[in-house]
Every structure is written in C-alpha cells, then in structure tokens.
Symmetry: C2
Subunit: 349 residues, 2 copies
Amino acid sequence: MKKDEKKHRNISELGEFGLIDHITKNVKINHKNTIKGIGDDAAVIDYGNVCSVVTTDLLVEGIHFNLIYTPLKHLGYKSVVVNLSDIYAMNATPKQITVSIAISAKFTVEHIEQIYEGINLACQHYNVDLVGGDTSSSLTGLSISITAIGESKKEDIVYRNTAKKNDILCVTGNLGAAYMGLQLLEREKEIFKANPGTQPSLEGYDYILQRQLKPEAREDIISLFDEIGIKPTSMIDISDGLSSEIMHICKKSDVGCKIFQDKIPIDLNTEKMGKEFNIEPLIAALNGGEDYELLFTIDINDLEKIKDYKMIHPIGHIADKEHGAVMITNSGQSIELQAQGWNQLKDEE
Amino acid sequence: MKKDEKKHRNISELGEFGLIDHITKNVKINHKNTIKGIGDDAAVIDYGNVCSVVTTDLLVEGIHFNLIYTPLKHLGYKSVVVNLSDIYAMNATPKQITVSIAISAKFTVEHIEQIYEGINLACQHYNVDLVGGDTSSSLTGLSISITAIGESKKEDIVYRNTAKKNDILCVTGNLGAAYMGLQLLEREKEIFKANPGTQPSLEGYDYILQRQLKPEAREDIISLFDEIGIKPTSMIDISDGLSSEIMHICKKSDVGCKIFQDKIPIDLNTEKMGKEFNIEPLIAALNGGEDYELLFTIDINDLEKIKDYKMIHPIGHIADKEHGAVMITNSGQSIELQAQGWNQLKDEE
C-alpha cells in the first residue's frame, strides 16, 4: 500500500457517517427489484410475492468486543442478535443468517464450538436458519461477519425516511443499561490488571451485564404491531444511542422533533449504576448505544392502541424541520440533540 | 477468553473442511423456503416466483491478500468477483452485494476510495447493485466481508451433489495461472525485502499477474448455458484448486471420477513460469487455487452441444464411487486425487 503524492486525509476528518456518505455517494442502483439500497437498517429486494430484507455486520476483536470479559458463547449469541435487530427494525421477520469467522492461532476447536453454541442458541430462540458462511485464519484475532435475511410483505416494510409531522416518537424497553454494563466490565478489567489476584465483583449487577453481554432483539414488538394492527410510520433500531437514531430518522425524513427528558425510559439498575460511577444515566441513554431497542414513530391516531403496553414509551413527537431535533429537559430547557453516534473511527486519532 | 480444564484441540487437527463439518453438524433447517443451507457454493431461498442465492466471504489482510503487492483497487474488484463466482457456480445471476469493511488507522480516506473504486467497477462490469454494508475500525489491518445475492428459477439451479455416473467433467478457461502469479509476486517481495532499492521485474508476466490480482468470474459461461440450452448436472467454482473441487463434487454426489492429465487446460504463460520457477504447472492446476473457473458435469448427450466452445474443456467423466477420484497421467498411471484444498488453518501450526 503506497502513499502516492495525492493528499491523504485521515478518516477521522470524516467520521463514520461522513465516510459512509462519502464512499456511497456514487453508488447507482440498476435492478428495479432493489427497492432499498444503502441508507436504512437493511436493504430490501422485491421478489414479487414477498420482499427479502438483508443486513450485514462485521464485528472485530478489540473494537466491538473484548475477549477479556466477553464469554465466547455470549459473543456468538450477541453477534446474531445485533443483525436480527436490524431486520425487526424494518418490521420484517428474520429467517436466515450466514456466518463468516476469521480466527487466529490462539483459538482452539473448543473456543469455536463455544461461539457456535451461542450462534445456534440465537438461531433457535429467534427461529432462524444458519445457511452458510466461511471459516478462515486471521493473523491477529477474531472477526465475525454475519448477514441476516428476513422477509416481509412489501406494504408492511417500515423505513427510516417516512416519519411525518405530529407523529408520536416511541421507544421500547429502556435505554442506557448496556452502556453501564460496559463501564462495569471495563472497571473490573482495570482492577484485575492492577491486581491480577482479585476476583471481579459483579454480583448484583446482573441486569446491566446481561444488557451488555447478552442483549435480545425486539421480536415481541414486531409481533405486537401485527397483533394490534399498527404499522409504524418510521422505525430504526437503537444501536448507537437514542440521539444518533433520532437524528437519522429526522435527517432521512426531512423533519424535526421534540422529545422530553422525563419520558426517556431508564431502568432503576441503570440509575443506581450511574450514581455509583458518576455517569449521568441520561447521557448513557442518549449516547451509550448497544441497547437494541426500537425507536419508531406512529400516527397520532394510533396512540390509543399502544397506551396499555408498558414496554412502549412515547417520548415526544415529530415537528417541522425548522424546529430542529430538540430535547426539553426537566427544568424546561430546550437542548439540541447531538448525533454522538459511534465514534470509533474518531477514537483512532 | 479462559482456557478451562476441558481438553482443547488445536484447529489444525481438523483442518478447514473438518472444522466446518464439525461446527455445522448440528445445524437444523426450520424454514421450508430454505431449500439449500450449508454445503454448496451458496445457500438457496425459495421466494415462490424465483429463488434467491446467497453467498458470503470474509477476506483478511495477511491471509487472503498482502497489501505489499496488491493494489487496493484490484483488491476491491477481486473481493466482489470471488463472491460472484460462487453465484455463477449455482447457475444463477448475481444482482446485489453488501460490503463490510474494517480498517485500521493506517488507512486514509483515499485508500478507502481506491477499494471502493474497485468494488464499484466490479459492480458495473457484472451489473450488480451495492445495497448495504458497514464500515468500522480494526486494531490491526483490513478485513473485507462481502455477501452476494443472486437470482435463478428453482429448476435452473445447479448443485454440487447431483453429478451422476458417465457424466462428462468439464472445466472452463485454464488452471494454475493465478498460483503462478502469486509465486511471482512473493518472489519479488523477497527480492525487495533484501534490496529495498530494486524495482520489481514484472514485465512480460501480465497474464499470470492479472489472473492473481484481477480475476474475472465466468458470467459468460452461465449465459452460454442459457443460450445453447444446457443445464449442467453439477457445478462448483474453482477457488481451492481442481483436485479439491473435484473431491467436493464426488463426495457430495457420492460418485467417483476419472480425469486425464493431458486434458487439463494450462496456459502457455503458466507453463513458461513453471519452468522458470521449477514448479510443476500440473501441481499449480490441481492444488493452486484462485482460478475462479467453473468445474461442472454435463450429461453425456450434451457433449455435442459444447464441443465447438474453446473455453470449455472436457477433462474426464464421472464413475462409480468404488473407483475413487483418479487422474490418469500422460504415462498411463492412475493417481488418486488429493483434496489439498486450502490449508491456511494448518499453516498456522
């Protein structure tokens, strides 16, 4: 790889989203059955009777997971779940996955078995077929690439770019817990490094650890939509933090929004951990990521239909673009949301 | 990642194919539209009017490519081509791809642009839509994961496991050139290491270099089958060397075969390079890999239809399983073929 005389820009100048925009700006779609390409949780291919919904993720050791505290079985499980979450975010049902793994010499057959135990468990739990993949060597560590394929009728698919003024913004479950789990694991790692004899003190933290190490995808919400006859007007899964996902919906839909701090669902365990760690739980919810909850908008007339479901939380509404994407704090201040997102590419500086 | 007290086996004990067999032996298929799972060039999903054919590959720096001598644009192009080759090997037409890339801090925006230039060029050349993907950091180098999605009518799809006795075994193009190209590049790398001032002497080797650095997939052959009304009885692409691919067809189809040394197509450039490097071109053809030609069987009654096409070479025929998979040498000896395959996992020892 030679550096030629042309100016070379550091990737951090663009950031992750900027880089993706930059490299995909010239991409052309030629097949008329490609009804959604880059720019949503998944691509959509129309096969006539049904649409196929396709998403892919590449997880790399040291970036997306740390094997010091991630059990391999959990890693296999989570690798599948994060992809299925993208399929559900299209209001589709995952049916198949492929798994490619690159492994270095430090891994044994039993390690690979543990990863596949987790993968198979997720396949069972979500009723998904493992249909293909690839296993190869790596010089330096573990990489896992998963592609998930789902199905939906064309008219049922929900995109990011179709939210409209006055729609109600909702999130499922609660936010920020996975981030708190990660902070706990990182703390214990540092303590262990300083005193290799110590045992990690993880008792009483089951919930936030489970949210970080073994998250679940919101299959139940997609089933519920079907059951109660709701089609969200837009949807995205929360992998990079609430702020970032709200910004995606607003940008793609060309709208603004107003959300309310006191409506953002945060679990008691997350609050408790926040106090202990001196991390504002709200920041964890807005920018932490890895919650794998769903963020969606519904027509205001559908609000009645969801009001009895405790796992769905209306947090605000869609507004004109001119209003921006703002959060009204508990003290009544209006704060512009920041797409903190996932800044690994910047962290490399 | 803890080593527990259970016995841990080195992956090299199983080898690549053994490892894949081992980890996939418990995989169950639950959806009736998954008509082919693991075990062919691609998985097949039935959508009623049409089937979707899906394949994926994960390419890792230092294992599948060496950036010392691989131009990034070529790497992008080749990464797409190796996946499309798997789609053609199912007698299907590729339509969409997704691309995930993990990059370390040594890469600039311009480097990524070069990779995507190659990816976009391949998409144009093969009329494929880039529909999704992922970009993330890596601590150690470049990984590229591509999933290709193709289409075919259910009745047109060709599998590995359907070769039958007396079918004619054919290969397209010529074999062993990509391996010779790799040897040349490796030699120049060593010379450069010893004398960093020297320029590589690659003149006159265009053909074998192109076969290694910028291979093409056999779209033309799939079109030809359609044109002349042939459906192969089995097919596979040659990524790991002729021997290995023949063994796959024989094992999956539960048959044996007899091929003839003097029928194996080897280009004059490959012969010439073989002499220079003291590498038997036949060994490069049998075990070299990365040719991305097609190996297929046809009913003996179809032999007439292909005889005028110079890019198709009948090399032998399918026999009863009891005869094994053998090659008759020019001196009349019968040699059992060995599935040398792709032994990176063993090389790690």
